[in-house]
């Protein structure tokens, strides 16, 4: 370590122009890499694992169309739908089918009703100038359609057009352009008449999330940089120093994003938060080094020596704090999810790059800047401004009653863990988007009158030679409908049986033939949704709102229980599947895996601290004060009923790695105090160390928290939540480090001292 820091000093401080010459081209490369960064929501890839649930979902999705890939267009006529409005809507319905990727359309015009002679007639008249017929048709269209949804709102102001995309283009990548084209066409149609078109559905939501990610990267990082500058200005009260201190974090950010670009790593819903974390961590380390340089220069050291000595002294804790953060990130690689593993490796790589940049670039910046007189004048920190932010009364109390405080902390930690465990997980697709966004609001409006757009799919296999329209099959379907229709949250059960009311047998025609004829008459999408490609399998869709994975899991159990009691002759039921079921089951497992990741980090990081300082007592003392904040935040979420979501599980694990920084500064001070003798610190020494280091702890927490505060500018509620959880954890960790850590160190050291 010492050799490494001396090498950095030899290069950055003594040969700044050489280092600058090497860094120049690398900066250009990083800037080019930045341009190569790709964005994706990653919400589908989140679950793309080898798990049985995902494989079953994928297999099933290959055989049947999935309603989750449909795009809903909500059409509103302020004065109510009428003939002219429907004529415009009809034009839209025709034109939208010429857009690439749109495979099928389902609208009020697709609705049919049986006539007396057994044929099917459109619910809406072909003559749209007939006002009475139009009104009667619209009234009829407000009823639940065979697809389980209502196509017209009861006030006759809103109607729905459902667009199905070709299966090959349903994978994201290809759908963003299609959604854009649909929106453009809707805009053109809306301009021509008093209609309002809103494009929504899960694919447009995902497209909006990606759009938000791009905006976020600009907004959060800019605000993060400004906040970092503001904190530096507040700390150092010098414009020169604040400006110089901001250079390194920005270079670290550029290098990280450039590295992501060259390595092909994408910015997605999870990695969105990484750049600002890198910025904040680099800011924190830079401020520590700057603080030390200024202190040394104020004490009369020459700029070169002050910079070199500051790097030599501060580099080890910077390396250790980075290593604990890297460990916390790497612990996430235990997850089955490729996208979480991607976050783990990207995060670890990002922190490592930031560390290298801080160690090399920060001394270089000062080595170069101190050649200018205004900077040289601004650098030494006036002694009058050295302040103690902290009275120390809290520390005195904590170390005086160290046993009570330590035992109290341990008891509180156990109590919080008991509340938190067993972990109650929750996941909801829509948690990733702001509910006030038009695309989300429109989805709520669609679901309000049409019904849920999400479904639990129940695969069925025909037994023997049975065909889907056989009376025995239809009888079995009736039994299944009867068993599932009244389950909580189930708004509609949809199967080929729903087409029976439309299938009035004509003379000499069997029910089966009438049903087949009806299917031929309806849009082909019906067949794709309800009958498998091999014609030997069927799908029953239970339209249910997405009210979180816990409710979905409960409903799946209820479905299983209801099906077990049924005696079916012509069909065999499979396991319920679909995006809701798959994401619900896998999110639960993955969040639990993140708990294991956290446990690994919670054990590995203190061990690393112990090994780093070759002090077992340091490692042991670091455990409780850093687990307690996480346990408290987790318990709080559980008590509030929020449960542990992906965001919270990730935030708590990463925040744990970062929050350890404070403890490391304490141990570093104790270590420096003990010197080479490696004596066990006594209570008074702990107090002295704490008094010296407490301003640093408060500063670190303020720097980290103010930087993370930039996440509140994010468009994604999950990122904002991530930020809040991190900040809460940092402040709780600060309290624990100021109160519990000195008590524990005093206690453990006392025990060690006594045993010696």
């Amino acid at each position: 370590m010492n050799r490494l820091t001396r090498l950095i000093v030899a290069l950055s401080v003594d040969r700044p122009l050489v280092v600058l010459a090497v860094l120049g081209p690398v900066l250009v490369l990083a800037a080019v890499g930045l341009m190569r960064i790709d964005y994706e929501d990653g919400l589908r890839a989140l679950f793309a694992t080898e798990s049985a649930e995902f494989q079953a979902y994928s297999r099933h999705a290959r055989g049947f169309a999935q309603s989750e890939t449909d795009i809903a267009v909500l059409v509103t006529a302020a004065d109510g739908l009428d003939g002219p409005a429907l004529a415009r809507l009809q034009d839209f319905v025709l034109d939208v089918q010429f857009l690439g990727g749109v495979q099928a359309v389902y609208s009020a015009f697709s609705l049919r009703h049986p006539t007396d002679d057994g044929t099917l007639a459109p619910v809406l008249p072909d003559d749209l100038t007939d006002a009475d017929a139009v009104r009667a048709g619209l009234q009829r269209a407000t009823r639940q359609s065979p697809a389980g949804i209502s196509m017209v709102s009861s006030d006759l102001r809103e109607t729905l057009v459902v667009l199905s995309l070709a299966r090959a283009t349903s994978e994201f990548g290809g759908t963003a352009g299609i959604v854009r084209n649909i929106r453009d066409l809707a805009g053109q149609t809306a301009r021509q008449d008093g209609l309002d078109f809103a494009v929504t559905g899960l694919l447009p939501v995902r497209e909006r999330i990606v759009q938000g990610l791009r905006l976020d990267q600009m907004r959060i990082n800019l605000i993060g940089a400004v906040l970092g500058f503001a904190v530096a200005l507040l700390m150092f009260r010098s414009l020169w120093v604040a400006c110089l201190n901001t250079v390194t974090p920005l270079v670290a950010l550029l290098f990280c994003l450039g590295g992501f670009g060259w390595l092909g790593l994408t910015i997605n819903a999870l990695t969105n938060v990484l750049p600002v974390l890198i910025l904040v961590l680099a800011s924190s380390d830079s401020i520590h080094i700057t603080y030390d340089i200024r202190r040394r220069m104020a004490d009369g050291q020459a700029p070169r020596d002050a910079i070199a000595d500051a790097v030599i002294d501060i580099a080890p804790p910077c390396v250790l704090t980075s290593l604990t953060t890297i460990l916390a990130f790497l612990s996430l690689s235990y997850s089955d999810s490729p996208i979480i593993r991607n976050l783990a490796y990207s995060g670890a790589a990002g922190v490592l790059i930031a560390l290298l940049v801080v160690l090399v670039v920060h001394p270089l910046v000062y080595a170069l800047a101190c050649r200018f007189t205004p900077v040289l004048r601004a650098m030494p920190e006036p002694a009058s401004r050295r302040r103690h932010f902290f009275s120390g009364r809290m520390i005195l109390g904590a170390t005086a009653r160290f046993r009570i405080v330590a035992l109290g902390g341990i008891a509180l930690c156990i109590a919080a863990l008991l509340v938190l465990l067993p972990i109650r997980t929750d996941y909801r697709f829509m948690e990733n988007i702001e509910p006030t966004f038009p695309v989300a609001r429109s989805l709520v409006r669609v679901e309000a009158f049409a019904g849920p757009v999400t479904a639990i799919n129940l695969p069925l296999r025909l037994v023997g030679d049975h065909a889907f329209a056989d009376p025995e099959v239809l009888a079995d379907l009736s039994r299944i409908h009867g068993a599932l229709e009244n389950l909580p949250d189930v708004r509609a059960v949809v199967s080929v049986r729903n087409l029976l009311p439309l299938s009035v047998a004509q003379t000499g025609e069997s029910t089966a033939e009438a049903l087949s004829r009806t299917l031929d008459t309806l849009p082909g999408r019906f067949r794709e949704l309800l009958i498998g490609d091999d014609a030997r399998s069927l799908q029953i869709m239970l339209l249910v709102p997405d009210r979180g994975s816990r409710r979905v899991a409960r409903l799946v159990r209820a479905i299983d229980a209801a099906l077990v009691q049924l005696r079916l002759d012509a069909v065999r039921t499979g396991e319920p599947t679909g995006f809701l079921v798959m994401s619900g089951a896998l999110s639960d497992r993955m969040i639990r895996q993140l708990t294991v990741s956290f446990l690994f980090a919670a054990l590995a990081c203190p061990l690393l601290i112990g090994l780093w300082y070759r002090r077992f007592d340091f490692g042991l003392a670091a455990t409780i004060p850093n687990i307690l904040p996480i346990a408290l935040v987790g318990a709080g979420l559980t008590v509030m009923g929020t449960g542990i979501q992906f965001t919270s599980a990730l935030a708590l694990t990463i925040a744990f790695g970062i929050a350890l920084d404070d403890s490391i500064h304490v141990f570093n001070r104790l270590h420096l105090q003990a010197g080479r003798a490696r004596t066990v610190p006594r209570g008074s020494e702990v107090r002295r160390a704490m008094m010296q280091v407490s301003p640093v702890l408060i500063t670190t927490t303020l720097i980290l928290s103010s930087g993370i505060l930039a996440t509140q500018a994010s468009e994604m509620p999950t990122i904002r939540f991530f930020g809040i959880l991190c900040i809460a954890t940092f402040f709780l960790a600060l309290l624990c480090d100021l109160i519990l850590l000195p008590a524990l160190v005093t206690w453990i050291s006392g025990t060690r001292g006594a045993s010696r």
Binding site: Q90, V93, L94, D95, Q97, F98, V102, A104, V105, S107, F109, S110, T119, L120, A121, P122, P125, D126, T521, L522, P523, G524, R525
Partner: protein
């Protein structure tokens, strides 16, 4: 090749309209609006098509594109060929999502190519046939009519009529 067709067109313009001269009239991009009256239905559905006509050889053109109704959409392709006399025509129609082709044969009458299905189609016990009339109307628009008739009672079971307007 294009020069040859243009030259041929120029000669045909000078002469009384000859049937062979109808084929170049189909070249270019077209948008069509019309109606479809499906089998066993009294109501007519609006239909819209976007089509491109392009030359396959001296005496053969392709008229292909996509049509949409409020119930769904699909692609189609119509290959039309004339013989050396320019009076006799044959056509093959195919749908993108269905196997097989329907073959037509016929003659030109004035501005109309009138084609009759070569082989009747048997569907659910009924013997069906259709005619295909392509008329170049005033202003260069094309009117396509394609009724399907049940040969048992000569009843029209499906009607299709689309007027194509050339797109710039």
């Amino acid at each position: 090749m294009r020069v040859a067709i243009l030259a041929l067109s120029a000669i045909l313009i000078a002469a009384p309209l000859h049937a062979a001269g109808l084929l170049p009239s189909f070249l270019g991009h077209w948008t069509g609006d019309g109606y479809l009256k499906p089998p066993r239905s009294d109501s007519r559905q609006k239909i819209r098509c976007k089509v491109e006509g392009h030359e396959m050889s001296d005496m053969q053109i392709s008229f292909a594109g996509r049509c949409a109704t409020t119930s769904g959409a699909g692609g189609f392709r119509l290959l039309i060929a004339s013989d050396a006399s320019g009076r006799n025509f044959a056509a093959r129609a195919s749908l993108a999502n269905r196997e097989g082709q329907v073959a037509y044969a016929g003659r030109a009458e004035e501005n109309t190519i009138a084609l009759v299905q070569s082989e009747p189609l048997i569907e659910r016990g009924r013997t069906l046939t259709s005619t295909l009339r392509l008329t170049v109307v005033d202003g260069g628009d094309i009117l396509l009519e394609n009724p399907i008739v049940d040969l048992a009672d000569n009843a029209v079971v499906q009607e299709l009529s689309i007027r194509f307007v050339r797109q710039e």
